[in-house]
C-alpha cells in the first residue's frame, strides 16, 4: 500500500431544507404514505409547468458562497434524459453546462494539517422517486413522493489522498450545511448522500489511474470503510499485473466489500438540452455581497474563536464546533458556569455517549445548558461526587428536571459531616479487624480498602477525602 497513492473525489447530494418541493407545492415531509405527495408537475403530466422554489434557490446560493464558489452569471436548467422508472417524465431537471456555482473550495484539517479541497461545481436538481424491487417476481414498486425534492449536488476535485481525508471532507461539509441551516444532513433518511470516485497510482506518478465509482455508502463509517477496501482492491490488482476497470461498484455493508454494479462500456448519453419550461436566473453582485454578509459564523471560524477565547485545545474546539447545536449549548453553559474545559469534557464524554445511544441531537432532548451548569456547580461545591453526577445524568435527560432536585429527592447529597460519618466508620472498623492489623503491620493498602468499604456503605455519598482523613487519624491513634 505504501508504494501507492490513493486519489479520491467526492460527489455529495444534499437534500435542501424546504417545506415544498423544488418545482411544485407538494410536501417534502419524510415518511408520508406512498404517492400521497405528488401532483401533475412532479408526475410530469402533460401541460404541467414547473416553477422554481425561491427558498431552495437561496439555500443553494448560500451554500455555494460558504464554499467560496463563484456564482454563474446566467444560471439555467437542463433536462437530463434517461429511461429509468424513478422519474415519470423520463428526464430529470438538472444543470449541465451552467451549474449554479463553480470553482470553490473547502479547507479541511486532518492530522493537524490544513488542506484545501477544491470544489468543481455546485448545482441544483430534482430528486427521483423510490423503487422497491421484488426480484422473485421480476417487479418493481414505485413511490413518487421523493420525486422533485430539491437536491444540491456538490462535486469536489480529486484532491483527497486517503479514506480519512475523504471522511474529514464529508464531515466538514456536513457541519457547514448544518450551520447554514440548509439541510438536516440525515444520512439515514438520505438527506445527505455521497458517491466517490477513487483510483490509485504508483507514488510519484503524475497522471491519474483508472477510477471506480462507489455508491451506496450511508454513513461516515461506510464511506471510510468502502474507500479503504476499494483502494486495497485496486492496489492488489496492479500488484498482480492486472488493470483496474472503469466501473460502478456498490458498497455492501454487510459483507464489507465493494461489488460490481455496472461497467461503463456504453457510457451514458443523457442528451442534455436546456429546460424550456424554466426561465434563466441571475443574481446581481449587490445581492451576492448581501448574502455573503448574512452568512453565519462557520465551523472553522468558530473553532478558531473557541481556542482563542476559551483556551480550549484544537481537539476539544474541533469536537465542540463540528455540531452547531453542541457549540451553542457550550456557549450557553459557559455564561452560567465559567469553566470551559470542564464543560467541554462533559459534552464530548458522557453527554455525547447518551446522544449517540439515543440517536438524537441535544436540541431534541430535555437537557438544557442550565442543567449542565447546575450539575457542574454541585460537583465544584462538593455537594455530589463526579461519580454520582454521571449516574444522575441520564435521569436529567429523561425528565428534564434540575440536578439539585434529583439530588435532594433521592438523598444523594455528599456526606461531609464528620459526625454523620463516624457511625459508618465505626461499623466498618468493627467488621474489618484484619485490615486494621494489616495497616498496623505497614500495609498501607489496607486504608484504601477501608475507605472503599465506607463508600460502599454510603452508596458513594461519603466524601472520600474526609473519610480518608478520619480513618487515617483513627488508625494512627490506635483506633
Amino acid at each position: 500500500m505504501k508504494d501507492y497513492e490513493i486519489v479520491i473525489g467526492l460527489e455529495a447530494h444534499v437534500q435542501l431544507l424546504t417545506q415544498s418541493k423544488v418545482f411544485c407545492g407538494c410536501s417534502t415531509k419524510f415518511g408520508l404514505a406512498p404517492n400521497s405527495s405528488t401532483c401533475p408537475v412532479c408526475l410530469g403530466l402533460p401541460g404541467a409547468l414547473p416553477v422554481l422554489n425561491e427558498k431552495a434557490f437561496l439555500h443553494a446560493i448560500k451554500t455555494a458562497l460558504a464554499l467560496k464558489c463563484r456564482i454563474q452569471d446566467i444560471i439555467k436548467f437542463d433536462r437530463k434524459n434517461y429511461y429509468y422508472p424513478d422519474l415519470p417524465k423520463n428526464f430529470q431537471i438538472s444543470q449541465y453546462d451552467k451549474p449554479l456555482a463553480y470553482n470553490g473550495y473547502l479547507e479541511i484539517e486532518h492530522n493537524n494539517a490544513k488542506k484545501k479541497i477544491r470544489i468543481t461545481r455546485v448545482h441544483l436538481e430534482e430528486d427521483a422517486g423510490k423503487l422497491m424491487h421484488d426480484p422473485g417476481k421480476g417487479l418493481s414498486y414505485i413511490d413518487f413522493n421523493r420525486t422533485g425534492i430539491p437536491l444540491l449536488e456538490i462535486v469536489s476535485e480529486p484532491d483527497m489522498r486517503s479514506p480519512d481525508e475523504g471522511s474529514a471532507y464529508l464531515q466538514d461539509l456536513k457541519s457547514i450545511l448544518q450551520y447554514l441551516k440548509v439541510s438536516d444532513c440525515n444520512m439515514e433518511e438520505g438527506s445527505l448522500r455521497c458517491d466517490a470516485n477513487i483510483s490509485v497510482r504508483p507514488k510519484g506518478e503524475g497522471s491519474l489511474g483508472v477510477k471506480a465509482e462507489l455508491k451506496n455508502m450511508n454513513s461516515f463509517k461506510a464511506v471510510r470503510d468502502a474507500l479503504s477496501y476499494e483502494a486495497e482492491r485496486q492496489v492488489e490488482l496492479l500488484r498482480k499485473g492486472e488493470s483496474v476497470v472503469q466501473e460502478t461498484r456498490l458498497w455492501n455493508e454487510r459483507k464489507g466489500i465493494t461489488e460490481l454494479m455496472r461497467t461503463k462500456e456504453e457510457t451514458h448519453d443523457y442528451r442534455y438540452f436546456p429546460e424550456p419550461d424554466l426561465v434563466p436566473l441571475t443574481v446581481d453582485k449587490k445581492e451576492i455581497e448581501k448574502i455573503k454578509r448574512s452568512l453565519p459564523e462557520l465551523p472553522q471560524a468558530k473553532k478558531k474563536r473557541f481556542t482563542a477565547l476559551y483556551g480550549l485545545g484544537k481537539y476539544d474546539a474541533g469536537v465542540l464546533t463540528r455540531d452547531m447545536e453542541i457549540s451553542n449549548f457550550f456557549e450557553e453553559t459557559i455564561k452560567l458556569f465559567d469553566k470551559p474545559k470542564k464543560i467541554a469534557n462533559w459534552l464530548s464524554g458522557d453527554i455525547a455517549s447518551i446522544l449517540n445511544e439515543r440517536k438524537t441531537t441535544i436540541g431534541e432532548t430535555r437537557f438544557k445548558p442550565a442543567h449542565l451548569a447546575e450539575l457542574l456547580e454541585l460537583i465544584r461545591a462538593e455537594e455530589i461526587s463526579g461519580k454520582i453526577a454521571k449516574e444522575i445524568l441520564p435521569e436529567i435527560f429523561r425528565l428534564g428536571i434540575s440536578p439539585k432536585e434529583i439530588v435532594r429527592s433521592k438523598g444523594l447529597k455528599q456526606i461531609k459531616d464528620a459526625g454523620e460519618l463516624t457511625s459508618v466508620i465505626d461499623d466498618v472498623l468493627r467488621e474489618n479487624k484484619k485490615s486494621i492489623d494489616d495497616y498496623k503491620k505497614g500495609k498501607k493498602n489496607a486504608l484504601i480498602f477501608l475507605v472503599g468499604q465506607v463508600m460502599r456503605k454510603t452508596k458513594g455519598r461519603a466524601n472520600p477525602k474526609i473519610v480518608n482523613e478520619i480513618l487515617k487519624k483513627r488508625l494512627d491513634d490506635g483506633g
Binding site: 424546504t18 417545506q19 415544498s20 411544485c24 407545492g25 407538494c26 410536501s27 404514505a33 406512498p34 404517492n35 400521497s36 405527495s37 405528488t38 401532483c39 401533475p40 408526475l43 403530466l45 416553477v51 422554481l52 422554489n53 425561491e54 427558498k55 431552495a56 434557490f57 446566467i74 439555467k76 434524459n81 429511461y83 429509468y84 422508472p85 451552467k98 422497491m132 424491487h133 421484488d134 426480484p135 417476481k137 421480476g138 417487479l139 418493481s140 414498486y141 414505485i142 413511490d143 413518487f144 455496472r262 448519453d269 442528451r271 436546456p274 424550456p276 424554466l278 426561465v279 434563466p280 436566473l281 441571475t282
Partner: protein, 100 residues
C-alpha cells in the same frame, strides 16, 4: 456545399437505441437520409455570423428570476394519482423490474 450533412448508420442505430426504438434495415437507411436532410437544413444557421451575439438560453429573452414561495399546496390523492398507473400494488406503481 455547406448545407449538406451526412450521418452514418452507426449514429442512426445509436439514436434509435437511446429512444428505445427498433428499426429495420430499410428504416435505418431511410432515417439516415431524413436525419441528414434535417441537420443539413438546420445547418443553414451556421452561415450566420454570430460573433457578437450572446447565446440564447431561453426564448423568452427578458423574462428571468421567476419564483414561487416555499409553501405547501394540496397534492393529488394517491387514488387519483394511481388512475394513471399501468398497474398497481397497494398504493405503489407496479412496473417490470428494470436493471440499469
Amino acid at each position: 456545399m455547406p448545407n449538406k450533412k451526412t450521418i452514418d448508420e452507426k449514429t442512426v442505430k445509436h439514436v434509435a437505441r437511446l429512444s428505445r426504438i427498433n428499426l429495420s434495415k430499410e428504416e435505418v437507411s431511410l432515417y439516415q437520409r431524413q436525419l441528414a436532410d434535417i441537420l443539413g437544413y438546420i445547418n443553414k444557421l451556421n452561415e450566420l455570423d454570430t460573433k457578437d451575439t450572446l447565446p440564447t438560453s431561453h426564448p423568452l429573452g427578458n423574462l428571468k428570476n421567476v419564483f414561487r414561495k416555499d409553501t405547501v399546496k394540496k397534492s393529488l390523492s394517491a387514488e387519483d394519482v394511481l388512475k394513471n398507473a399501468p398497474a398497481r400494488k397497494d398504493d405503489f406503481f407496479k412496473v417490470p423490474k428494470i436493471i440499469e
